[in-house]
Symmetry: D2
Subunit: 144 residues, 4 copies
Amino acid sequence: MSHRTRVRVRYGETDQMGVCYHGSYVAYVECGRTEFMRENGIHYRAMEEEGLALAVVELRLRYLRPARYDDEVLVETRLVEATGVQVRFEYHLFRLDGAAETLLAEGHTLLACVGKDGRPRRITSPWKERIAALESASSAARGA
Amino acid sequence: MSHRTRVRVRYGETDQMGVCYHGSYVAYVECGRTEFMRENGIHYRAMEEEGLALAVVELRLRYLRPARYDDEVLVETRLVEATGVQVRFEYHLFRLDGAAETLLAEGHTLLACVGKDGRPRRITSPWKERIAALESASSAARGA
Amino acid sequence: MSHRTRVRVRYGETDQMGVCYHGSYVAYVECGRTEFMRENGIHYRAMEEEGLALAVVELRLRYLRPARYDDEVLVETRLVEATGVQVRFEYHLFRLDGAAETLLAEGHTLLACVGKDGRPRRITSPWKERIAALESASSAARGA
Amino acid sequence: MSHRTRVRVRYGETDQMGVCYHGSYVAYVECGRTEFMRENGIHYRAMEEEGLALAVVELRLRYLRPARYDDEVLVETRLVEATGVQVRFEYHLFRLDGAAETLLAEGHTLLACVGKDGRPRRITSPWKERIAALESASSAARGA
């Protein structure tokens, strides 16, 4: 139960080390998460318009190999845990080198559901059910 | 009637050309404008909290020499024209090289006053008077 | 003789006005330019690896209507003028609203060819011919 | 053995949730680390010019309370561990609310020393000694 999104490294996302700046990966995992949710019926924009926002409360990234300018990075996203108020996503970022895949980075984000006032609130229907479905599909995939 | 703000080039603001990415200057002129206004009694955060926002409707930058990582860039800001609905700022960005100043870039932004709904609205008191005072001071300085 | 690239507005590219931050468009026109060149045989990464870089020396953007989070923005790019040392691109950014297209912003960038040392240099073959071909196709299109 | 740097939240660093975008903190901890090192005789720009770069290999951030536009954020940086090839920094980010300090976020980065070719290399004199001095001062402070 995972999903892959492609993101191309922009020029402004590189730094003078000649590689993709490590902070740029924050946007890449966000793209991965957004497309993963969209593909599974969770349109984040609509969710936020209804007053339910997911705020990042924890971010962790490990960088193994650099991505370079103009590389197409594959972001593999999994939803690994959901409670009534928080959702945890895991990410693996790859680069395709011909037939081979090179793991560039991995990480996770923990998101908390908040209302328009920024205060915690419970995830409500129909988002709750859709997130739960993704979580159980993900557990099943790992149990297999 | 101008103002100078210092901004240090961050690592993430460089690109693989080994210099400050040209898009980073958008933030630098914003810092210049914000501090210039603050120093002259126009606290932009307060203004926005009262429902008056200044939206950038035009941006122009000319790049003469590159800024480099960790350079302290001086942003010189002038308010050159104000109507009841728009304000135009001009910027000159320098680097101090010992006693000499090297001009790195210059540009302007045109900002339109909008309400919370994003629609145009007139700049109201006390912001109107403070902006007008800056404009006339600026004209006087140029006329001298 | 133009080209269209789609860019989706990321969450981190919005600001507290609730719309896409004006500085984010710098990356969007860069995406447009890069894909336009790629489609026409000018692979910018390869060009830079051969020691020819295109540095932005002028940037101008006019903002007509805001782009919003998760919007797909169409970036239409034209190469409007090329000399032996500089290339000028024009951009029009649209949003698709059903069958209609809404113009969000327009602008141009002027790029100068520089070597690895950052000094101006002439654009050399085969890039020179490919850029010239794009320029004449563009003129013909406008003359028609 | 810690250090505090002030960073002001820029408009472009906010997002449509009306707070500082979580990815912006990557730049803030970088500012904290750079100024902490500078104050202790480790001028990172000079170090990199000599061919020694510190590449971020791990990043972790926990977000407790939002920073807002125009807030002055205090970044408290500590060097908590150094080996011959890696350095670990810890960060606490505060906002001053009158006399009180509100903890906004905390995190760490692990940096690996690499050469101009991007390959791991040992940290050499005089940087090695300066980093070691900071590490022992930090341990002593915690032991006290």
